[in-house]
C-alpha cells in the first residue's frame, strides 16, 4: 500500500493491522509521535490524517491507503518553525515535552480551520491532548499568540 507521510510518498508491505502509531515510530523512525496511553485518551500520538486530527494509536495502517499524514517531523519540514512552535517556545508552553508534539498538531489543525480562535475554542481544540505539567495556561497563550 501507499501513503504520503510528511509530503513523501511511502510504499510499504507492512501488516495493515499495525497501528499507524507503530508504523510511524518503528517502521519509519518518526519517534516524535508519542504513545502515552494506547487507548485514545491522551493525544500524545496525535497526527493529522488528511488534515484531520487523529490519535494514531486508534488508526490502523490499513485505513491509511492513499492518505496524507502529517507528523511533528513534517510540521517544520522546510526548516522554518510553524508559528505555533515559535510561540510555544517563546511563552514557555513546554515543560517535559512529551505531550508537546501532539499539542502542536492539535494547534496546527485548529488554526487551519479557525485562524483567530477565542480562548474557549482553543480549549475545546486541545481538550483531547492531556498535559500534566503546564496546566494549559501557557499553551493557550501560545496558540493565541500564533494566531495573532
Amino acid at each position: 500500500m501507499t501513503l504520503v507521510v510528511n509530503g513523501q510518498r511511502v510504499t510499504t508491505d507492512a501488516d495493515p493491522c499495525l497501528r499507524l502509531l507503530d508504523f510511524l515510530r518503528e517502521g519509519l523512525g518518526l519517534t516524535g509521535t508519542k504513545e502515552g496511553c494506547g487507548e485514545g485518551e491522551c493525544g500524545a500520538c496525535s497526527v493529522l490524517l488528511n488534515g484531520r486530527l487523529v490519535n494514531s494509536c486508534l488508526v490502523l495502517l490499513g485505513q491509511c491507503e492513499g492518505a496524507e499524514i502529517l507528523t511533528i517531523e513534517g510540521v517544520a519540514a522546510g526548516g522554518d518553525l510553524h508559528p505555533v512552535q515559535k510561540a510555544m517556545m517563546e511563552v514557555g508552553a513546554i515543560q517535559c515535552g512529551f505531550c508537546t508534539p501532539g499539542l502542536v498538531l492539535a494547534a496546527v489543525a485548529l488554526l487551519a480551520e479557525h485562524p483567530d480562535p477565542d480562548p474557549a475554542t482553543i480549549r475545546r481544540a486541545i481538550e483531547g491532548n492531556l498535559c500534566r505539567c503546564t496546566g494549559y495556561v501557557k499553551v493557550e497563550e501560545a496558540i493565541r499568540r500564533a494566531a495573532g
Binding site: 516524535g32 508519542k34 491522551c42 511533528i72 517544520a76 517556545m89 508537546t100 494549559y136 495556561v137
Partner: protein, 758 residues
C-alpha cells in the same frame, strides 16, 4: 545581573517542540530485546508456582526470569529495603511483579507474559489502614503493621485545648493520587564489553537507579553507568520506582548478554508504580476568641501500601508540615505510615503534606466561620513572619514572605468585595476560598545524609561551555535555570552554555531530584564549580587589561570589563588561556547546611529554609447536581528569588492544575478484593484543558541566604494548598463543609442532600 531573573527560552524547547527529543521509548539499539512483566493477579497470597513453559513456546520469546534468577540481592534499595524486585514467596499487592519475559518483539514479549501462569494461594487482604491498626489484624509488617511513627510534642496541648475559647474538630480523608506523567516509565539496559552495564531511561534519581541495578546484579557501583534520557514528567513518580523498571531491564540484559528495553504500558504503570498516600487525619484545634491558634492536636495516618519504600520519609515531611505555616506553641502530632495490601505509595509533589494540609486549612476556615472572622483575616493573625517560631520549634530567619503572598492574592482576587457578595439566587452558587502553606526546602533533617550535590563545568577555548550535574531535568526547567546560573557566574552568553545529560559517571552522587532541592543544591554546586574558572578568566583578563587586582574585573556576556570601563573580549582572553595552558574545567560540591530533629519531640532545625504560598480559588457550585466549576485561581508564591520567572509561573500553573485534579477529580479505586479498578486514562481522570480555569501566578521574593541569588526551591508547593482552598470555596458557596476529597458531584450532592447547606 545579566541572566538571573530573565525570561530566557528553555534550553530544551527546540528539541521538544520539533519532536526530536529522545525519550526512553525512542531509544533503539541493534539486537535489543523487548521486555514485559508478569504481575500478581491478586492482592495477597503465597506463590505456589510460576509456570512458564507455554510462554517459552512463543516464537521470539528468549527468556523468562523470576526471583531465582537474580544474581545479587532481590531488593529495591530504599529506606527499609523491604521491596523485592520480583516477588519470591508471597505477593502483597495486585500488580506486584513476579517474572519478566524477554523477546525479539513487543508482541512476542506480551504474548509470552500473558502465558506465564502464576498460581497463588490467596489470603484475605488488608485494604484499610484503620483496619490494619486494629488488634488481631493480619500482620503485614512487624507486629502492628506500622512502618514508621513520628511525633511532635511541644507545649501542653491538653491544657491549651481545655482553656481555648473555641475548639474545632474534624476528620478528613484524602485519596490515592496517580502522578499521570504523560511519559510512562521506561528503561534501556545495555551490557558493556568491559563487563559493566549502561542503563538509560526515564528517571528523577540516577544515583538511586545505579544503586538499584548494582544491588540486584551484585555489581560494584563503578560498573553501572546510569544516564538519564529525556524524561516526560516525574512529580515524584520517578523518584524510587524507576529502580524497579531498571532492575527488570538490567536483569534481562545481564542474563542474556543483549540490550534489553522495557517500556511500561499505561495500565501497568498506574497499577504498579508509586502513588500519593491516601490520608486519614483527625484534628483538634484550639483558638482564642480573637482567632489566635493556641493548640493543635493532629493524628495523621498514611496508607503506605504493601511495602515501606519511601513512606518513612514521606510521613516525616507530613509531620513537619502538619499544622501549616502558623505560630502555635502547643502542638501534638502523631503520624503513622501503615501497611496494607495495595500498591506501595511513595513520593508525589508535596510528599505527605497535601493530605494533612487539606485538614489543617479546612480547620482554619472552620474556625474563622465559627468565630465570625474573615478567612483571610484569621490567617493574617496567625501567619508566620520573620523571626517567628514554626510549630516544630524552628526559629525562622528574615526570609518569610507569607504575609505578602496572602495580601497579594487577597488584593488581586478582589477577595473583600467578592467574599461579601450576597448569595446568588438559583441553583448556581458562587463561592471564594483561600489557603496558605509553607514548604521546607531540600531534604531537611529527614534526609540530611543525602543532601549534597556535585557539578562539573568546562569552558572551551571558543567561548562555549558545558556543565554537568547529578540532578535531573524532568520538565521542571532545571537546565534552563542552571544554564542561567553558569552564564551568570562565568560572564558567558546563555546561548553558549550547554548542559550534559545527567550521568552517574560525570559527577559524584548528588542525591535525588526531589524535595524542590535542585535549584538550591545544583545551583550552589555549579557556583562552586565555576568559581576557580571565573578567577582564572579574571586573572588573564586583568593581565591583558593591565589591571593589578583581578577581583575588580567584571565578567559579563562574553566580555571582561576593567573598573574604568575598558574591555577585552573573551576571544582574546580564551586565546591567552589556551597559550598559557590554563585549567578551564572544575568540579564543585554543595553540601546542605546542618539540620536537626529530636525524634521524641520533633524539636530542631527541620529544614534549611521555607518557601510560602497563598491561594484563592473561586468556584460556582450547582446545588442541584453537585458539580463544582472552578472559575479562577490566584496563587502567590514566595520563592526567594525567581531565576526564571516564566519557569516559576509554569510551576505555579501546572501545580495548581494538578491540585485542582486532586481536589475535584482524581481517585485511584480498588474493589473489595484489593484489585485496582481504574488504571487507565479512560477511568482515572486528570484535568483536560477545559477543566482548568485561568490561573493567575504571582511571584513574591523574600531571598534566602542558603540558595543561589536568594532562590528557594518551591516546585512542589503549587499543588499543596489547592484542595483546601477549593473545599473552603465550596463551603462559602453552599454552607457544606466537605471533609473528603475528591469533591465529586456525587459526593457533594450527597452532602448537600444530607443537609447543613444553605
Amino acid at each position: 545581573m545579566t541572566w538571573i531573573g530573565q525570561r530566557v527560552v528553555r534550553k530544551d524547547a527546540l528539541e521538544k517542540v520539533t519532536g526530536r527529543a529522545r525519550f526512553a521509548a525512542d531509544l533503539f539499539v541493534p539486537g535489543m530485546l523487548r521486555v514485559r512483566v508478569v504481575r500478581s493477579p491478586v492482592a495477597r497470597g503465597r506463590i505456589r508456582s510460576i509456570e512458564a513453559s507455554r510462554a517459552r513456546e512463543v516464537p521470539g520469546v528468549v527468556t523468562v526470569l523470576t526471583a531465582r534468577d537474580i544474581p545479587g540481592r532481590n531488593c529495591v534499595p530504599v529506606v527499609l529495603d523491604d521491596l523485592p524486585l520480583l516477588a519470591a514467596e508471597e505477593v502483597r499487592f495486585h500488580g506486584e511483579p513476579v517474572a519478566v519475559v524477554a523477546a525479539e518483539t513487543e508482541a512476542a514479549a506480551e504474548e509470552g507474559a500473558r502465558r506465564v501462569v502464576v498460581e497463588v494461594e490467596e489470603l484475605p487482604p488488608v485494604l484499610d489502614p484503620l483496619e490494619a491498626l486494629k488488634p488481631g489484624a493480619p500482620c503485614l509488617w512487624g507486629n502492628d503493621n506500622v512502618f514508621k511513627r513520628w511525633h511532635v510534642r511541644r507545649g501542653d496541648v491538653d491544657q491549651a485545648l481545655a482553656r481555648a475559647d473555641l475548639v474545632v474538630s474534624g476528620t478528613y480523608r484524602t485519596p490515592y493520587q496517580e502522578h499521570a506523567y504523560l511519559e510512562p516509565q521506561g528503561m534501556l539496559a545495555v551490557p558493556c564489553p568491559d563487563g559493566g552495564l549502561e542503563v538509560t531511561g526515564s528517571m528523577q534519581c540516577p544515583f538511586y537507579v545505579r544503586e538499584g541495578v548494582a544491588t540486584v546484579l551484585g555489581l560494584p557501583l563503578a560498573a553501572v553507568r546510569v544516564v538519564q534520557a529525556t524524561t516526560g514528567g516525574g512529580f515524584g513518580g520517578k523518584e524510587d520506582v524507576p529502580s524497579i523498571v531498571a532492575g527488570q531491564a538490567a536483569l534481562v540484559a545481564w542474563k542474556t548478554g543483549r540490550p534489553a528495553r522495557l517500556i511500561y504500558t499505561r495500565e501497568e504503570d498506574i497499577l504498579s508504580m508509586s502513588k500519593r498516600h491516601p490520608g486519614f487525619v483527625e484534628s483538634r484545634y484550639g483558638f482564642t476568641r480573637d482567632g489566635i491558634l493556641v493548640a493543635a492536636d493532629v493524628r495523621y495516618i498514611l496508607d503506605a501500601g504493601a511495602y515501606a519504600t519511601l513512606s518513612p520519609v514521606v510521613a516525616w515531611r507530613g509531620t513537619v508540615h502538619a499544622v501549616g505555616p502558623y505560630r502555635c506553641e502547643n502542638v501534638r502530632v502523631e503520624t503513622l505510615a501503615v501497611a496494607t495490601n495495595k500498591v506501595p505509595c511513595g513520593a508525589f509533589r508535596g510528599f505527605g503534606s497535601p493530605q494533612v494540609l487539606f485538614a489543617a486549612e479546612s480547620q482554619m476556615d472552620e474556625a474563622a466561620h465559627r468565630l465570625g472572622l474573615d478567612p483571610v483575616e484569621i490567617r493574617r493573625r496567625n501567619a508566620l513572619r520573620d523571626g517567628d517560631v514554626t510549630p516544630t520549634g524552628q526559629r525562622l530567619r528574615a526570609e518569610v514572605g507569607l504575609s505578602e503572598a496572602l495580601e497579594r492574592v487577597a488584593l488581586a482576587s478582589g477577595w473583600a468585595e467578592k467574599r461579601s457578595r450576597p448569595p446568588s439566587p438559583g441553583p448556581k452558587r458562587y463561592g471564594i476560598g483561600c489557603s496558605v502553606v509553607h514548604y521546607g526546602v531540600c531534604l531537611g533533617a529527614g534526609g540530611r545524609n543525602l543532601d549534597r550535590a556535585g557539578a562539573f563545568v568546562q569552558v572551551m577555548y571558543d567561548g562555549s561551555a558545558i556543565y554537568a550535574v547529578g540532578t535531573t531535568e524532568m520538565g521542571q526547567g532545571m537546565h534552563t535555570v542552571l544554564a542561567q546560573i553558569v552564564a551568570e557566574e562565568l560572564g558567558l552568553p546563555y546561548e553558549a552554555v550547554r548542559p550534559v545529560a545527567s550521568d552517574t559517571h560525570m559527577v559524584p552522587d548528588s542525591g535525588p531530584t526531589v524535595a524542590s532541592r535542585t535549584t538550591v543544591m545544583s545551583g550552589n554546586a555549579l557556583r562552586e564549580a565555576a568559581a576557580p574558572i571565573r578567577r582564572t578568566l579574571q586573572e588573564v583578563a586583568a593581565s591583558l587589561l593591565g589591571v593589578d587586582d583581578p577581583t575588580t574585573v567584571r565578567l559579563e556576556n562574553g566580555k571582561a570589563f576593567a573598573a574604568d570601563g575598558r574591555t577585552v573580549g573573551y576571544g582574546d582572553v580564551l586565546h591567552r588561556c589556551f597559550l598559557e595552558r590554563r585549567h578551564l574545567a572544575s568540579s564543585g560540591l554543595a553540601v546542605s547546611p546542618e539540620t536537626s530533629w529530636d525524634p521524641e519531640t520533633g524539636a530542631g532545625e527541620a529544614y534549611i529554609t521555607y518557601a510560602f504560598a497563598a491561594n484563592v480559588v473561586e468556584v460556582e457550585v450547582d446545588v442541584e447536581t453537585g458539580e463544582v466549576e472552578v472559575l479562577r485561581v490566584h496563587a502567590a508564591h514566595d520563592i526567594g528569588r525567581a531565576i526564571n520567572p516564566t519557569g516559576v509561573e509554569g510551576q505555579i500553573e501546572g501545580g495548581s492544575a494538578q491540585g485542582l485534579g486532586y481536589a475535584l477529580l482524581e481517585e485511584v479505586l480498588h474493589d473489595a478484593q484489593g484489585r485496582m479498578v481504574n488504571h487507565r486514562f479512560s477511568t482515572y481522570l486528570i484535568p483536560t484543558a477545559r477543566d482548568v480555569p485561568p490561573i493567575h501566578a504571582h511571584i513574591v521574593e523574600h531571598p534566602t541566604e542558603v540558595g543561589p541569588y536568594g532562590a528557594k526551591g518551591f516546585g512542589e508547593q503549587p499543588l499543596m494548598g489547592i484542595a483546601p482552598a477549593v473545599a473552603n470555596a465550596v463551603f462559602h458557596a453552599t454552607g457544606v463543609r466537605v471533609r473528603e476529597i475528591p469533591i465529586t458531584p456525587e459526593r457533594l450532592w450527597r452532602a448537600l442532600r444530607a443537609g447543613g447547606g444553605r
